[in-house]
Symmetry: C2
Subunit: 383 residues, 2 copies
């Protein structure tokens, strides 16, 4: 096991009817800004629940935050918040709204161009406190201190700063009933790949972290199809919601060896071609596992045997079966595993590699062995 620090002070309030807890969780006398996305919360009752719980508090609304939240849009919120003297932010939405809220909370007191927090890792002097009401289980942003923001074709992450933890996150699984199959499928795949990135590397004597990761993967495999095919099924919604949070709150990754190259390559596909984040992961992961089969061999075999119950005695066959079952799983959730679906062609690969190198000059992977050539190979295999 590697040495590690673990710190996660987010208060999780989980369950049916819990949005009303906003009443005690949001400060009474601070001017707040309510941030949300495309307006679905106004159609599914969440907005009413939030506003009712906020009561007489002074609240400014800021909607229209898109998936892969855009810097320019977020800077509008920053300007308003500065002008109005906003002191608390409340994100109501999925990972994009929460990521956006983290950026805004950090940008308000940043002197200069806040994009430099991402492009040059500059530190903001102060982060505004914020809370979240999660409406889409997927990214884990509700219980971690990371955020990803886009500016044109640049999609960059920032975080690792404990001031970027939400003070609280409310997770009511019943608010997910109105999500589309596409949103649900994406969410399950996102949580699945978050888990894989912290698990499928090389053995580092982390039996507990491995079993936790395998537990999340098995739960996503069992419960994922239910959220898509069984209407208004509270229990599966609850299990997927909690699994997605646990997949990226630091617990399974503590002391373990991480990869994250699927995400890094995926971010380029989103930035360049507008492909949903989770869909880029579903495309990249299987090919990446095949290209990295040798360096990931031990854990790939463990993954095939423990998560997919693959019986084949030949290691190579078992590994390929595990990858195939993973692809089948993604496809069964309506999430394709081929780049061709998005009309990305072989001649686009060089553009993707160049863009990746602009953003991340170093090699990727747990062994830092994924160079340009390997990225090309992965993308070609994913066509």
């Amino acid at each position: 096991m590697q040495n590690f620090e673990f710190y996660n002070p987010v208060k999780i309030v989980f369950g049916k009817g819990q949005i009303q807890q906003i009443e005690t969780l949001v400060p009474q006398r601070k001017k707040s800004m309510l941030l949300y996305g495309g307006g679905s919360i106004k159609n599914n009752g969440v907005y009413e629940q939030v506003m009712s719980a906020l009561g007489e508090r002074e609240v400014i609304e800021f909607g229209g935050i898109t998936p892969n939240p855009q810097y320019d849009k977020l800077m509008e919120a920053v300007e308003i918040a500065r002008k109005e003297g906003v002191e608390f932010l409340l994100a109501v939405g999925g990972g994009s709204v929460i990521d956006a809220t983290k950026f805004i909370a950090a940008a308000i007191n940043f002197d200069g161009d806040p994009w430099e927090m991402l492009s040059e890792h500059k530190r903001t002097p102060k982060v505004l406190p914020f809370g979240a009401v999660l409406t889409l289980p997927a990214t884990g942003s509700e219980m971690n201190c990371f955020s990803v923001v886009s500016r044109g074709v640049d999609k960059l992450g920032f975080g690792g700063d404990p001031r970027l933890f939400a003070q609280f996150s409310i997770l009511d699984p019943s608010v997910t009933y109105t999500l589309s199959e596409r949103q649900l499928g994406n969410g399950v795949v996102d949580a699945f790949v978050h888990t894989i990135e912290q698990y499928l590397t090389y053995p580092a004597n982390t039996p507990l972290q491995d079993r936790f990761a395998e537990g999340i993967l098995q739960t996503l495999i069992e419960e994922g199809p239910k959220v898509i095919h069984v209407k208004d099924h509270y229990e599966s919604r609850a299990n997927i919601m909690w699994s997605a949070t646990m997949a990226l709150n630091g617990v399974i990754g503590a002391g373990a060896v991480h990869d994250w190259s699927t995400h890094m390559i995926g971010h380029e596909l989103t930035a360049l071609y507008g492909i949903d984040h989770a869909r880029t992961l579903a495309v990249v992961l299987p090919s990446l596992l095949r290209v990295q089969k040798d360096v990931k061999k031990d854990k790939l075999l463990q993954f095939a045997r423990r998560v997919w119950n693959v019986q084949a005695t030949d290691a190579d066959k078992a590994i390929e079966e595990g990858i195939l079952l993973t692809e089948d799983f993604f496809n069964s959730l309506g999430v394709p595993t081929r780049l061709g679906v998005y009309k990305v062609k072989e001649e686009d690969i060089e553009t993707i590699v160049q863009s990746l190198r602009k953003h991340i000059p170093a090699n990727l992977g747990e062994n830092k062995d994924i160079d340009d050539e390997k990225v090309q190979k992965i993308l070609k295999l994913a066509l």
Copy 2:
């Protein structure tokens, strides 16, 4: 899944050589009190590491805290801390020292007899901040907000108050090399039973929490014998240490149905006969599972199959095999599973039941169906 709140702000600093982090974690200008137990830290190098990291800070020492920390002794520390104006506490030891530190931190500003925080659930106006250096993996106190203190034959718990979380806990697995086989065996059993109490109840649609619990149990089963039989084996020490922390930091219990009756009965055995805490659990648990076999049937079968890989097709046989394997495991760690070893006899049972009822008037168990008669039955079966 049940509705739940999860909040755990303890900063964990895990790994070899991490005690030196005290230098940045303990406040510089606050008068601190260093609390420890029987003095083993002065023989194994931990004391030197701690003092060196504390540097020039003003520190008062208070040693001699025993297992099952005693109220009278802790009140001596409270008096000194009050007189000296202590502002920060640093616990260096196992669960008893950390539990004691929580009591002292809460008692210093309590007006009246601090025992009433336990006997009458009275609230203290202020809890002193504190940190911990863990030297014995077992109780999980380093990452939860609970504490158990004894006063004569009264052994009572208190907590559930977020002010009773340590600000930080340092977990260096290499400091456990000097523990005795008895301490190590007790620690593994303690963590095992903590996990069972939050898992082996009735099904409540918590597949993720179940798998996390099973992951801890399997890791304890695999790694437990190694810490006892392989000298200075860092990896197994690390895995046991982290498993014991995860067994009682709220993660596996969130949304799950709990029991805790083995602990409640065990506390009486410690208070009346001085039996080590973990040893009382090893005695009570197997008998309790047998007496509660019908109400716990589904989860007992899951436990036998998933944790012990029991193949027997007959459910009753499989369940009994799972319990037998658990007993064998405890015994293999040098922890007996029979009350007779401690010279507790059938005629003592009534005393134990009376003492339990004095402390906890209500029935025990996840269904509140463990009445006096059942407690008698459990203890008789454990003789």
